[in-house]
């Protein structure tokens, strides 16, 4: 990754990054924004992965959200940065597992461990752990099979 990291946190005047700070932006495949041209599309150089957001970019957007007094939005972007590593299908699986009465406490804790251990997604893990605790208290865990 050749993404340059700004030495001081970004502020509102850096927004929009695509206009004011394009040099900070890279695709997850390491390409600068200026490489995302029609020629590159036509030649087949660009794939779907080139049009995804990189975790580093989400961290930059989190800095902007923090600088705009939006701490919850910034936290959301930090969780999102962690989740860029998770394949689409698994993201959907995890979401479905968080639906009411879809999972046992053990299943939810296993997801939290996978997030934290396999994906280094500590902040996202916290959300799932909190869900497990609240679901238990509010009787929203999966009910044992009954005949």
């Amino acid at each position: 990754m050749t993404q340059s990291t700004p030495t001081t946190p970004l502020g509102p005047s850096d927004y929009p990054l695509s206009v004011n700070r394009p040099e900070l932006l890279r695709t997850p495949t390491g390409k600068p924004l200026s490489d995302l041209t029609m020629d590159a599309v036509v030649s087949g150089e660009l794939t779907g992965d080139d049009l995804r957001i990189a975790p580093e970019t989400l961290q930059l957007q989190a800095q902007l959200a923090d600088a705009s007094d939006r701490p919850q939005l910034a936290s959301n972007f930090r969780r999102a940065a962690e989740m860029t590593a998770i394949p689409d299908a698994e993201v959907l699986e995890m979401y479905n597992a968080l639906r009411p009465r879809a999972s046992s406490k053990e299943q939810l804790l296993a997801i939290a461990e996978r997030l934290e251990g396999h994906y280094g997604a500590a902040e996202s893990g916290v959300v799932v752990r909190e869900a497990a605790e609240v679901y238990e208290r509010r009787n929203l865990l999966a009910r044992p099979e009954q005949d």
Partner: protein
Amino acid sequence: MTSTQPEAFRRRSSRRTEILEDRPVNLDGFVEEWPEKGLVAMESEFDPRPSVRVEDGRIVELDGKGRGAFDFMDTFIANHAIDVETTEASMAIPSDEIARMLIDPNVSRRDVLAVSRGLTPAKILDVVKLMNVVEIMQGMQKMRARRTPANQGHSTSARDNPIQVAVDAAEGALRGFAELETTLGVLRYAPLVAIALQIGAQVGRGGVLTQCALEEATELELGMRGITAYAETISIYGTESVFVDGDDTPWSKAFLASAYASRGIKMRFTSGTGSEVQMGNAEGKSMLYLEIRCILMAKGAGVQGLQNGSISCIGVPGAMPGGIRAVAAENLVASMVDLECASGNDQSFSHSAMRRTARAMPQLLPGTDFVCSGYSGVPNLDNMFAGSNFDTDDYDDWNTIQRDMQVDGGLRHVREDEILEARDKAARALQALFAHLDLPAVTDDEVEAATYANSSNDYPLRDVLADLKGAQSVMDRGLTGLDLVKGLEATGFHDVAENLLTVLRQRVSGDLLQTSAILTPDFVPLSAINDANDYAGPGTGYRLQGERWEQLKKLRHVTSATNPETEVG
């Protein structure tokens, strides 16, 4: 009945009563309040009294309940939405003082936010209950997150005809919608219709953002593939029981919010007064109290915005005394906690044209981030969101009201030759793209019909089975937004391909993830960061003037000042 009226006066109705009986407004439903069941807009003695208590950096009491008695909404709001550092100080400010801050031009938006981030749901209710509808509008004028107001349109088809969706999206984009949304009658049509919406929008005006309202998981998948640009139908509810009935929790929805952001996709939640009582479990609380819980839940999840204003439940508050005031108040609350607000006016609401117009004034006059979260860009019979408060028949009325009041409702009059050109081009682009991708053919007759059509009745019938097969193949083959760009470029629609590529490229930068973001016609992201609402009284904030005002002075028929025999335009 023990009427004291003389018998003779009750034999028949007067001519006037007959005329009034026949007025459309009397087809609307109105009911008495029933606070015990939550059938009350915003004034209920059963709503909790505001309170908060913090111990060891944690909220342990919220609106009269101790932590042990919290349901999951209380827990989520206490843990994530309310600023623990400032809550006790904010809660100590009398409600009337906070209400006055909301309308005082000498108090900045930032000053209000410094207080509102520490308020509980019951306290916020206590504040907005003090405000009449004009004060609510004054508050909205200042608290709206984005300085420049905008509008969102629907483009749907009663036959799920993708060509109609494309050409009406092109016309809508040209007329000014910053976002366009579609949904389906037959869900399996979704991939074809979502593609059509995207192509049509980019023909009409590059940079318009599109979405397809579907079940959560499918909606996310279309977004991940780059076929749609944002998502909105992520519903949340104000009671735990109704939230669970919707098969979600605040944690599943918060996870989903991060999932969207992790793919660079703009997203907002949806909620609205009346949904809990309509779904049968308001737990005896007023509609607005429950909606404020939704708004704070959205805030706590870190989602950038919310579609609210009763939305598909508008008939419920609409039937109540003060109901439309409550709907205006819920939009204000979303804005006063710093969320993007797409402010309703998006569902059939009344048989009365006067009532439909009056209902929109609290959003249109002060301006909101999106005045309608679905102005129907198709005739009402084609509106698959069960009809909107405004539709294509109302375009000229809307434009005239903007000109009369000198307010910016996000639309403009466009000359017919330009509209026909855009419709024709959208239909031809879709024809070429479908052929290129080996999707069901669009005939020249269909292109011709689409250019001049009003409703789905004006189009040749499609082979639905072939379309559904084509739709399935979009999913099976894993077609993405990039394939659409390639196809458009290969078939000679270079400018449309460039527009779409530029929209897709936005997700690499993440700029559209910030609060209230839209794309200008020059593809510059415009959000609450670089277009922050700076209203500070008369002469400040967004003013409809200059080039934009010149645009809005134009109507279908305006008599020339220099030659009264001719019209300008």
